[in-house]
């Protein structure tokens, strides 16, 4: 027989459980709902009387039954608590979150705790489930990750050309060099320099020079294959890493690029002008000490193109088979 003090204490405890800012429900061994607090009522739109005695999977068909049983069965059998976070499984119940209008996610992200409840005979015949609304935490984390990704991309990109910037591109060529050395595969490096760029800047101004850079970059982007890495190496210098490509194959791409730019008329200062590029090709050589040697090889080939009258592709002499 409970005395009136205990009764009052139980009364306000029940009140707290009913109104606490987390979902609380109890399931029996058949996964039928035996308790359902205010949070669950308000978020599901179903009152306790409506769900009591019903099988939870019938009332909420959206629950991933297989996943949930995997979590809950061990609690019954092993008398052990189970936890799941939004990062493993975003939610158990499909509820609206508290920002249905100003929020940026459609539903409530949840952390769940499943605890065993022992009967008087010492057998776990019920489980309690606590549902925590962690939408704010989740959204913050997702936004942070997105922001970091954006930041990373910005740090890698050259803003004018839209290609990889020098710093990032050098990381790429270094990695490719090591990969080729390690796996004994082939790759080619193409270095590109805009002919007479200094004159364009001097005669027509820097904003014209900038638009030439943009146009050439666009051509490079359209010519390269998905697996190639292009970058802006210097003021008017560009480079493309072509993995798994022999120098002969690379030559086709290089020629195509050269021709495309030669044939394109650039609008400079309101007039159609022609722009050409000089290119140098160097295949990966296992004798190279490091990636710098490789770059130098392609670079000297490019200078050879300049010497030979520009608007040309030259393959590094030592590799001309």
């Amino acid at each position: 027989m409970i005395n009136s003090e205990e009764f009052t204490a139980m009364h306000w405890l029940m009140d707290i459980v009913q109104n606490v800012d987390a979902g609380l429900l109890v399931l029996n061994r058949e996964y039928e709902i035996e308790a359902w607090n205010g949070f669950m009522e308000n978020h599901s739109g179903l009152m306790a009387e409506q769900v009591r005695g019903k099988n939870i999977f019938n009332v909420f068909p959206e629950i991933d039954k297989k996943w949930f049983l995997q979590k809950a069965e061990p609690v019954f059998i092993l008398n052990n608590r189970a936890f799941t976070t939004w990062e493993q499984h975003t939610k158990l119940f499909h509820f609206k979150n508290y920002h249905p209008i100003t929020g940026i996610v459609d539903y409530m992200y949840q952390n769940i705790t499943i605890s065993p409840i022992k009967s008087v005979r010492g057998v776990t015949d019920k489980i309690s489930i606590i549902v925590y609304d962690v939408t704010t935490v989740a959204v913050n984390k997702l936004l942070l990750a997105e922001a970091n990704q954006k930041l990373e991309r910005l740090a890698q990109r050259d803003s004018l050309s839209g290609l990889n910037n020098r710093r990032h591109w050098e990381t790429l060529i270094e990695n490719e060099f090591l990969r080729c050395k390690r796996s004994k595969i082939n790759a080619s490096l193409l270095i590109i320099d805009i002919d007479d760029f200094k004159q364009i800047n001097d005669n027509f101004g820097h904003s014209c020079g900038d638009s030439v850079i943009r146009d050439v970059s666009n051509q490079i982007r359209s010519c390269q294959r998905e697996t190639d890495y292009s970058g802006r190496y210097g003021g008017e210098e560009f480079a493309i890493i072509l993995p798994d490509t022999s120098v002969q194959q690379a030559l086709n791409l290089a020629e195509r690029l050269r021709k495309q730019i030669e044939e394109q008329s650039f609008m400079i200062n309101g007039e159609q002008q022609s722009v050409t590029i000089s290119l140098g090709l160097a295949e990966f050589n296992p004798e190279f000490k490091d990636h710098i040697e490789w770059i130098n090889a392609a670079d000297s080939a490019m200078y050879e193109s300049k010497k030979q009258g520009k608007n040309k592709v030259t393959i590094n002499k030592q590799q001309n088979s």
Partner: protein, 202 residues
């Protein structure tokens, strides 16, 4: 009946319900701060997504304006209450609340939250009583603090459907303190709200 228009009967009913809930909220705040609150006629309207975007944009573009949002859900209705403040009145509100703090940014945040809590909480409680519903309230949060308002509008403009909006302006007599309480109901709450109104209108 088309849901894009609110009939005069419904509008009038919601306005009157708002009137009472608003009076209750103002009464509590008035006693708490020992002031007199000037209550206007509340505005009840259906907002189209573009109008909602405009309202939020206004908060965004006026740098001296802050907004606190608090969500509510229960009994088939859900939505958000938004309290919109003019930052220049912070000091006055702080004085009224006898707030005391060294960090003025922290002070602003706390005042924002406390005032929002009182105004939103008491209004929503009053509303719940009138409509005979029960709901859970979320944590209040400052709009734009975590997500840029422009991004928020961009992401949501396609998502938003029409919203039932109740707008109340609270002014404290003898001061510059002036804030707007905007209650927004989700589109799917409308049917339940109309049912409740039907019951009261008969």
């Amino acid at each position: 009946m088309s849901t894009s228009e609110l009939s005069e009967d419904y509008r009038d009913c919601f306005q009157e319900i708002t009137n009472v809930a608003m009076g209750q909220a103002a009464d509590k705040l008035a006693r708490f701060l020992d002031v007199f609150i000037l209550l206007p006629v509340p505005n009840v309207n259906m907002l189209q997504p573009s109008e909602l975007a405009m309202a939020l944009s206004a908060v965004n573009h006026d740098e001296s304006v802050s907004a606190v949002c608090q969500g509510f859900i229960g009994s088939g209705i859900a939505g958000e209450a938004m309290l919109i403040f003019n930052d220049s009145t912070f000091q006055e509100i702080a004085d009224l609340m006898n707030a005391d703090s060294d960090d003025s940014n922290q002070l602003e945040l706390e005042i924002l939250m406390d005032t929002a809590n009182i105004l939103i909480g008491t209004f929503l409680t009053g509303l719940a009583e009138q409509l005979e519903v029960r709901y859970s309230l979320g944590q209040p949060s400052v709009l734009g603090r975590h997500v840029n308002i422009e991004d928020l509008i961009k992401i949501n403009e396609k998502r938003w459907k029409q919203t039932l909006a109740i707008e109340i302006n609270y002014k404290i007599e003898g001061s510059n303190i002036n804030c707007d309480l905007l209650i927004l109901f989700t589109d799917d709450s409308l049917n339940i709200l109309k049912q409740k109104a039907d019951y009261l209108l008969e």
